[in-house]
């Protein structure tokens, strides 16, 4: 009986906490759901303005595409707790997922979603394409990847590696899905090291044809999205042999299926099988058995072979030729980095909304149970990730703009920034997904609640379009090259954001007060200090190894520890700068205030988490303690704005999940009966 009384008191506590109305006509469930919109304080800033800032562009186009998906049965709308959610049915078999993914593409095609994706010209068309792809990703990663392979990889290869004759023949046909393209670069034996692939293309002057061949099992094309079921054409990357000379990797158009979907002669295709995610994408393996293709199928923007078998290229240096060749593929890294941020936004919106409605344990005798997000520990788990996601959202916007205004002068910067951001943002996403999954407890395990499933769906992001670790090493190498060049010529740094190296070394105050910790000046200084010092250290270490007779390459290999720290330092500093820039461009004071809080949180939590600051002494142990204290303080200051902050992500309710809303109604017995 005592227990019953206690329970009654607890329940009364809950009710008094939220319900002032005199009548309750609906039976009050034991634990009631109170919408955060009602229990939380009114927003201190305008969420639609914040959304505009975060999404950055093409808001009307985004909303339109959300509308198209929400209103179609193909997107698996399900009613939960009175709301409609659209989420793929991940309980479908691999075959069913592939089939429905293709149907969704056809629906989007019929409704004009892809108009101008390849035939449109100029920055506006490109930004619109990015925006729509982001919306598609918010629904399902498989759908976005399948579309991305067709338009960005196959279509991009035609656009960038091909010349007019290829554009005329393929771009419109691709945009209308008259043909379905795929992109055969990776092999069983070679992934990130594209230059090592083993497939060959040999020119035969007497027939005017290339002969594409898979010489050994490790040369089979692997993970080719679209190849297993649907693709009719592929761009195949091969070592070009002309007249007995290997001219390095080149790209060729090859048909692999006829219009009826039958595999072409001398092509063998096998399935990559069931994966931990992305099962809506039909990844396949391809073997080429001396497949003959006309000379015109060489994508010849960088190099060509004449009818009589002469190799022609304006770029003599094979290294440069290869770099020029692959440069346009950065668009893949750009879209991956951006989509990683949207994935993090989805999981944070769900986990934070849930934490504003779910309670656990009371901390006072007979008191109501506490909301999850009112635990400082829960705040510490989610709010720093929220702040990082904001900073990285601005970083991804910066990256998109950088890519859009690409020019030969910007190739290096784009390569370095896109590599760094792709790695950093996708790692951040995976970490965020795991934390959010755990923060939702058991509910995070249900695929209808998205987060757990997304871990499998997005894991591949750290691998495709360049392994994250490899990319980060390339960042460090590029920084070192810049360093060596500047020192050798005794000229100031003027690229890759290294201009701060020209100024005197920043000094960090011996004691860090709260106001200092939150100042842009200090935050900038400490990030620049770290990058500067690590670059000096990396250069010193590499040159020391070289002085002992090691080659440059092996010196890099053994200096991996500093290289890794340096890559991070570059990436964090570049992210901070884009966040500061976004903040500076905002006029509205209420937005500025919250952005400043988030920026401080982003920097301070990075200081707290990255051991480099203590390892190399940029922070004293006392200051590290001050940072830690400030992070906790920032958590409590951001807490009241958490709902507004996730509401600003621009992700419609239907694309979140039942636990983000009335999870009691969504799980009630009546929903079982229906």
């Amino acid at each position: 009986m005592e227990k019953v009384n206690f329970r009654t008191q607890v329940l009364t506590g809950h009710l008094q906490n939220h319900r002032h109305a005199t009548t309750t006509i609906y039976p009050s469930p034991c634990v009631s759901y109170v919408p955060p919109e009602i229990s939380e304080q009114p927003f201190s800033f305008d969420v639609s303005s914040m959304r505009k800032l975060m999404d950055g562009h093409n808001l009307g186009d985004r909303d339109w595409l959300f509308n198209l998906m929400v209103q179609s049965k193909l997107f698996n709308p399900r009613l939960r707790g009175g709301k409609v959610f659209v989420v793929p049915d991940y309980n479908h078999s691999m075959e069913q997922q592939r089939e429905i993914t293709m149907k969704r593409i056809e629906y989007l095609l019929d409704h004009g979603a892809f108009e101008g994706w390849l035939t449109g010209k100029g920055p506006e068309a490109e930004m619109k394409k990015f925006a729509l792809l982001e919306v598609i990703e918010i629904f399902d990663h498989s759908l976005a990847i399948k579309i991305g392979v067709h338009f960005f990889l196959w279509g991009g290869a035609i656009q960038f590696f091909g010349t007019k004759r290829h554009h005329d023949k393929w771009l419109r046909a691709t945009e209308n899905y008259l043909i379905k393209g795929c992109f055969a670069m990776t092999e069983l034996g070679h992934g990130s090291n594209v230059r090592g692939i083993e497939t060959t293309a040999t020119y035969e002057a007497n027939t005017g044809e290339f002969v594409i061949n898979t010489p050994c099992e490790s040369a089979q094309k692997y993970w080719i999205g679209g190849a297993a079921n649907h693709a009719t054409h592929t761009v195949v990357f091969s070592q070009l042999n002309v007249d007995g000379n290997n001219q390095g990797v080149h790209a060729f158009i090859t048909q692999i299926r006829d219009e009826n979907g039958n595999i072409c002669p001398n092509i063998r295709i096998a399935d990559c099988g069931h994966k931990i995610g992305l099962n809506g994408v039909d990844n396949g393996r391809i073997w080429f058995d001396n497949v003959r293709i006309p000379r015109e199928n060489l994508l010849n923007s960088v190099a060509d072979v004449s009818t009589d078998g002469k190799y022609l290229s304006a770029i003599k240096d094979p290294d440069q030729r290869f770099a020029a060749f692959l440069a346009p593929l950065t668009s893949g890294r750009v879209t991956i980095a951006v989509s990683a941020v949207y994935s993090a936004k989805i999981s944070l919106a769900i986990a934070i909304r849930y934490s504003l409605t779910r309670r656990a344990f009371s901390i006072t005798a007979n008191g109501p149970e506490l909301l999850l997000l009112d635990y400082p520990s829960h705040q510490r788990r989610l709010l720093p990730l929220l702040a990082k996601t904001y900073a990285m959202s601005f970083a991804s916007n910066y990256l998109k703009l950088l890519y859009i205004k690409r020019s030969p002068q910007l190739i290096k910067t784009i390569h370095v920034v896109s590599s760094a951001f792709k790695a950093t943002l996708t790692w951040h996403n995976m970490r965020t997904l795991q934390e959010c999954r755990e923060a939702c407890g058991g509910q995070g395990l249900k695929t209808e609640n998205r987060i757990g499933q997304m871990k499998g769906e997005y894991d591949v992001q750290s691998t495709f379009e360049g392994d994250n670790n490899v990319l980060m090493q390339q960042v460090s190498k590029a920084l070192l090259a810049e360093y060596v060049a500047a020192k050798k010529r005794n000229k100031p740094f003027k690229e890759l954001g290294l201009e701060h190296m020209n100024r005197s070394c920043p000094v960090i105050p011996a004691q860090l007060a709260s106001s200092t910790l939150r100042s842009t000046q200090f935050q900038n200084d400490i990030f620049c200090l770290r990058e500067r010092d690590l670059l000096n250290r990396f250069a010193a270490e590499v040159s020391q190894y070289q002085a002992h007779g090691e080659s440059k390459e092996s010196a890099f290999v053994v200096s991996y520890q500093v290289a890794e720290d340096l890559g991070k330092a570059f990436s964090d500093r570049a992210i901070l700068q884009s966040a500061i820039e976004a903040e500076n461009n905002v006029k509205d004071a209420s937005l500025k205030n919250i952005l400043a809080l988030l920026r401080s949180m982003y920097v301070l939590v990075t200081l707290e988490e990255d051991a480099a600051f203590l390892r190399y002494g940029y922070l004293s142990t006392d200051n590290a303690a001050a940072v830690r204290k400030e992070v906790a303080k920032l958590c409590s200051e951001i807490r009241p704005q958490a709902l507004a902050l996730v509401s600003s992500f621009g992700i419609p309710d239907a694309f979140l999940s039942p636990i983000a809303f009335d999870w009691v109604a969504a799980n009630s017995w009546s929903t079982v009966q229906n």
């Binding site: 919408p35 009602i38 009175g82």
Partner: protein, 380 residues
């Protein structure tokens, strides 16, 4: 809960056991919702929510209309004689009423036995049960008036099947009771001769349980058949055309359909679009598209911003022109400005969705609603 006196007899109040029956009482004006009527309804609804003896509200209209809309003529008069902010007062009160109804803790049954337009839809569709009859005539005619479908229409129109909401909202299409039921604007269809029996049964049911009320109404309901020419038979073509990104593309898609075959319905649909205010069409489409992704509260806040911008008239004065041509001079020949769709730029459309630049102006401040029933929680 005093019944009628003075001005308040714009709404008649009957108490029958635990049921309150509110009758909109301006039959000569087709029960057009005036400031007084809207205020009175709000007061009555809030009082019923507090009163534990009330279990159910029935809302109906006196005469041949349920409610023909907001009293726009009066609003325009206020604005032209005074200031647009007088108009804002009306819309603020009206939208708050819409919000209270959408989140109301007790069931509301609206008897739509006649004209239901604009503001009339706002005081009924948000409620739990909407009973259509053979006399029902529904429309959101705002785009022909230089306005846009307001009163939370961006919420409820966007939730109709496919892109039917765009069709209804942009064209100002007229729907009969059978069509209202088919598309979900109505929850039941009852012949008008059965209405008084239905009312008695509801009072007798003495219940707040939605299942009981639904079952009670169902006893009097029948399944009407759609007329042959109903737009509900045109869902395929509506989805195909009205799903397009912009008004221009919607018209183009319709014209392509028209080129394929001679079809009176398509050509009259195109005609309606061409007659409507270009500015209204563009802001209406965007409002519905945003509304489909937002809760009812956010929809009303946005619509309030929009309506204030419309009344302020800085981008276009079509609202005043529309009222002149349709309601005052009745020449039915409004001169829209801008007159062409292509003259209405993205920037101009954007302005309607922005805050009013006036330090005294505030966004719609929705009342904090406690004790919201589960089905309404989903609308937030």
């Amino acid at each position: 809960m005093a019944s009628s006196f003075g001005e308040t007899d714009q709404v008649l109040v009957e108490e029958k056991s635990s049921t309150r029956i509110f009758t909109l009482n301006r039959p000569k004006q087709l029960n057009a919702a005036s400031f007084t009527m809207v205020s009175r309804l709000l007061e009555l609804f809030l009082a019923c929510e507090e009163d534990p003896s009330v279990k159910l509200i029935i809302l109906k209209g006196k005469g041949r209309a349920f409610c023909a809309g907001g009293d726009v003529a009066a609003v325009v008069r206020d604005i032209t004689q005074g200031h647009w902010k007088l108009g804002a007062n009306f819309f603020r009160r009206e939208f708050i009423l819409n919000y209270v109804m959408a989140t109301f803790s007790k069931p509301q049954v609206s008897i739509l036995n006649g004209i239901v337009m604009g503001g009339g839809a706002g005081v009924s569709i948000h409620g739990r049960f909407r009973v259509a009859t053979e006399n029902s005539l529904f429309a959101m005619p705002e785009t022909a008036l230089g306005l846009f479908p307001d009163v939370g229409a961006s919420y409820f129109l966007s939730r109709l099947p496919g892109f039917f909401g765009e069709y209804v909202g942009l064209i100002g299409a007229r729907l009969d009771g059978a069509e209202m039921l088919a598309c979900g604007l109505a929850t039941h269809f009852v012949l008008s001769e059965k209405l008084s029996l239905l009312e008695d049964a509801l009072c007798k049911a003495d219940s707040s349980d939605p299942a009981v009320i639904s079952a009670t109404i169902s006893e009097f309901s029948l399944a009407p058949s759609l007329k042959e020419k109903s737009a509900c038979h045109r869902l395929n073509i509506i989805n195909k055309c009205f799903s397009r990104r912009t008004i221009e593309e919607i018209i183009l898609a319709l014209e392509r359909e028209a080129a394929d075959k001679e079809d009176e319905w398509i050509s009259s649909t195109i005609q309606s679009l061409k007659k409507a205010s270009p500015t209204s069409l563009k802001i209406s489409l965007r409002s519905i598209r945003e509304g489909r992704l937002q809760g009812v509260g956010k929809c009303l806040v946005r619509e309030y911003r929009m309506v204030c911008n419309v009344m302020q008239g800085e981008t276009s004065k079509d609202f005043f022109e529309g009222c002149r041509a349709i309601l005052v001079d009745k020449d039915k020949n409004p001169k829209w400005e801008p007159s062409k769709l292509e003259q209405v730029t993205e920037d101009m459309v954007d302005r309607y969705f922005s805050k009013i630049n006036d330090k005294d102006w505030e966004d719609l401040n929705l009342p904090r609603r406690l004790n919201i029933p589960p089905h309404a929680i989903a609308k937030l």
